[in-house]
């Protein structure tokens, strides 16, 4: 709750103060505010500070922030802070983009703290509508405009389905509150040996589709490679991490409410997860563009994360947390490094930008390798620890899914190592730029390795 206040005030301030000014400074300023928010949220999560007074205007059945919600909020604000800081260099006039990013972040936080389907819907829209605009914020570029239109059209489509799903659920259960919504099917039907009413099952499918669209699970993922490629790099970094994180937290919370009737929905989630893992990984093999490769990689990761939705319990938050942390940090770092290495234009970001990196900027090449290892899930990085926890917890109930996950991970090496191949094996012809803000990359790499090596310490902190 505190984070929503802070971000809202900051967004308004930045919007008005930044009129007709260059964006760069405001980017750094907002980043610092976000870091502060992260610290406050961590303090809230660990119980070092108490913000309950601030939450009184919203009843607990609408929105609630407990330790785990605070922790995920901290994750979101930290990600946004990193995105804003790494991409802060921007000659554009006007700070409307930063304002929009902050509003979208507020939407993401609402999705994390929701206790009521309406708040979930509001959060989803607050997150999406600024993104439609942001995707097209590079007005001069045709592909950016195309991305915005595509995202908007398909987003509208999915929103409609989502809303219909909420209506069905309300019809089936008579409530919109998360606490109560799962009780009726779980107890009144499942325990008494009755089948779950069709209305609830349909509602669940439709609501899931709305969220599956946001996390770009196959076959609802078609928008994401096109939109990611067309959007400005910064917005892609935001979409592929913040949107996905928030949607996963919301999705797993929702499905957790329905865990009493898991047999009604787990089989099609498994099917979608398998399809997503295979599709994302295989389609990524043939891509030459860094952004499209990362887009498919993020689809594949969504597939792995769907495992979490199946196994979520009250006490398993840490798996999701560690996974989202490692995934978000490494994919932001990869994209940002490609972005900074490329000269002038944002078009055609392909693997050539990394050529000869190991000769010219060996330290950055090493960091690149760490980020690639983490995304691919190779040991001593956070990516491995996250995948290990996720897969090993899933194995007992869904061995087939874990097998597909391992197969997908094996295939993924094929495209992740394109980064390393260009950086280390190919000699550079193009003169790539010097990477700026190097310490941020060092910080990210250190976090990833630390989580990878001392996973247990992180778990203790997260509170398992």
């Amino acid at each position: 709750m505190i984070s929503i206040y802070i971000l809202f005030i900051t967004a308004v301030l930045v919007l008005f103060l930044g009129l007709n000014k260059s964006e760069t400074k405001f980017g750094y300023f907002t980043s610092l505010i976000l870091i502060l928010t992260t610290i406050l949220c961590v303090a809230g999560a660990k119980g070092w500070m108490n913000f309950d007074k601030l939450s009184t205007w919203a009843p607990q059945n609408m929105m609630f922030f407990g330790p785990s919600e605070y922790l995920f909020t901290a994750l979101i604000t930290f990600i946004v802070a990193i995105v804003l800081w790494i991409f802060a260099e921007n000659k554009e006039i006007g700070t409307d983009r930063i304002g929009l990013i902050l509003f979208a972040t507020i939407g993401a936080i609402m999705m994390i703290g929701y206790q009521h389907m309406v708040v979930l819907f509001l959060g989803l829209e607050t997150l999406s509508i600024p993104l439609f605009v942001l995707a097209g914020s590079d007005r001069e570029r045709l592909s950016s405009n195309e991305a915005a239109i595509k995202y908007f059209l398909m987003g509208a489509f999915s929103t409609a389905i989502f809303l219909l799903g909420i209506a069905f659920l309300y019809g089936g259960t008579g409530t919109m509150e998360l606490q109560a919504i799962g009780l009726k099917p779980s107890f009144m039907h499942a325990l008494e040996g009755m089948a779950t009413p069709v209305m609830i099952r349909i509602g669940l499918v439709l609501v899931s589709i709305g969220l599956l669209f946001k996390i770009s699970a196959a076959p609802f993922h078609f928008w994401s490679p096109d939109v990611y490629e067309g959007s400005p790099n910064r917005i892609m970094a935001f979409m592929s991490t913040v949107v996905k994180s928030a949607a996963f937290v919301a999705f797993s919370k929702l499905m957790l409410a329905f865990s009493g009737v898991k047999s009604d929905w787990d089989y099609w989630i498994v099917a979608i997860a398998i399809l997503t893992i295979l599709w994302g990984n295989i389609a990524a093999l043939k891509q030459n563009s860094v952004k499209r490769t990362l887009a498919y990689s993020s689809i594949a990761h969504a597939g792995y994360l769907l495992m979490y939705v199946l196994i979520a319990t009250e006490a398993s938050d840490f798996i999701l947390f560690v996974y989202l942390l490692s995934y978000a940090l490494s994919s932001i770092a990869l994209l940002a490094m490609a972005h900074q290495l490329q000269l002038d234009t944002e078009e055609n970001l392909n693997f050539d930008v990394f050529k000869g990196l190991s000769k010219k900027q060996p330290a950055m090449a090493l960091l690149l390798a760490i980020f690639v290892f983490s995304t691919a899930g190779i040991p001593v990085t956070a990516g491995f620890a996250a995948k290990f926890y996720l897969f090993s917890s899933t194995f007992a109930s869904y061995p087939l899914l874990v097998f597909v996950g391992l197969l997908g991970s094996a295939i993924s090496i094929g495209y992740y190592f394109k980064f390393i191949k260009s950086a280390y094996l190919e000699t550079g012809t193009s003169d790539n730029r010097i990477v700026e803000n190097r310490w941020v990359y060092w910080l990210l790499a250190m976090v990833l390795v630390a989580v990878g090596v001392f996973g247990a310490v992180v778990l203790q902190f997260v509170g398992v």
């Binding site: 349909i202 589709i209 078609f222 990984n281 990524a284 247990a456």
Partner: protein, 626 residues
Amino acid sequence: MSIIILLPLLGFLVSGIVGKYLPKQVVGLISTAAVVLSFAFALHMFLEKSILGEAVSQKWFTFLQVGGLQIDVAFTFDRLSGWMTLIITGIGSLIHLYSMGYMKEDEGYYKFFAYLNLFVFNMLLLVLGSNFIMLFFGWEGVGLCSYLLIGFWYKNLNYGKAARKAFVMNRIGDLGLLLGLFLIFKEFKSFDYTIVFDQIAAGNTPAHVLTAIALLLFVGAMGKSAQIPLYTWLPDAMAGPTPVSALIHAATMVTAGVYLVVRSQALYFQTALASDVIMWVGLATSLMAALIGLKQNDIKKVLAYSTVSQLGLMFVALGCGAYTAAMFHLTTHAFFKALLFLGSGSVIHGMHHEQDIRKMGGLKSKMPITYFTFLIGTLAITGFPFLSGFFSKDEILLHAFSHSPLVWGLSLISASITGFYMFRMFFVTFHGKYRNTHYPLEKVHESPITMTLPLLILAVLSVLGGLLNLPHYFGHNVAGAFSSYLAPMYKFAEHSPEVSASTEWLLLAAAVSVFIIAFVAMRMKYISKNSVPEEDDSMSGLGKVLANKFYVDEIYDAGVVAPIEIAGTVTDGLVDDIAIKGITDSIGKSPNWISSLLSRVQNGNIEYYLIYMVIAVSILLAINLF
């Protein structure tokens, strides 16, 4: 306690990261200070706690928790690990100090000190860790440091090969150790020393399992502590700078195996078979290495084989169940062998990197301090009465005798050969005529104070080290201090040797007489007759076999390395190139092919995307409706 462990790590980080940009003296001072301070803290802790019998345990954090497996980064400073810590940091300090002089001219100065500090850190992990996993971390860490330091002058191809040999040999041992650890976890569901040893002591474990664990752990000890058949790396490891040989390959790392066995006393006490294996392996190693040592002409090689031989004696003691005697000999050996190595380093330094004793001679006048301290070291190791080696070796012999007179006889032979090769080396190096034609005698010089000071300190320790554990005939007030110090560390009380007083005096007399024989014989040969060890090509018969180290390296090459290489070539050509490559390549190509198909689906037209979505939604609804 954290500070004892962290200081060397800090030293490593500082000298490793910024050492390049600092002047040499500063780097040397920082790293030396790190170890000296660590020693000071360890000493303080030792006096405060260990003497009184208190053990200090500390858990930093849980490193890993998966299923029933919990691995803590935790440390225990008890009487045993505390003692080892004192040896490591104490000798480590002296050797750091010495290195400041010895490595002065070297360009890799900062790197050297970084590695040394890292070694001390890992060694402390090994001994202070309170579970087998921490021991394993340290075990691998010191192996790595040993590899880096043996190959420190990596531009010389042979040195690089020696480093690789040490690493591979150790890996073989490590495999045994690892298997032992797996078995421990399977049996006891924990790696924690307390839990594992309590369960072993409770006696509910099947005997064959205990024996298997004990033997596997001993395979690890064989690698690290250079026992037959894995000892050949240690003499080659002399390729590293001499302080490294002194610290790692004489005083500390190679004794890790002894520490492991003493730590697992509860285990070895109950497995007679494993103990016998240890004893006989130790005995064979001791004899064989001593014999080889007789015909070596490289000053460091002689010391290396001597180290192997002494380690063998320690294992004899362990096999006989004389754990304290082994620890005692470990301690005195650390003193006098470090002294001898540093002394040989001083000689090498003074002779400008000449290591062949045939090209030395008469150095006594030119290097008085080195001569004097080397003499003490030689006397201590050969068992001159009332020096440290005399007491520790006699204690082992006494235990061996009470175990079986045959073992005693063989150990005594091994101990007497020590006298032969040590005095041979000593007389040839320091007495007689100067024989080097390339490097004039005038240029030979005594080493600087940073190098001679550690020599003097170690000489004092070598003389007085025996006081730690005086035999009982010195009276019960002063005798056996070390035994009663270590006694609480054992789950099972040690046997004390049961021999009558007269037998004991006889044994003592035997030990002293072999010392005298060795001394006199070598003095006659190399001083009175002034003979010099023969050149390599004029050797024949047994001498040639000894000089060529029983051809063990050649046997290993022909018996192990060559078959593996042949098998490698066959599998590479037949299995890998044809069968596996064919299969994997086609598996690898199929996703690429599917990938092109999928790209065609993703054609950029939003109408198609929406149709796909509608189809998917319809299917999902259909499943749930019907």
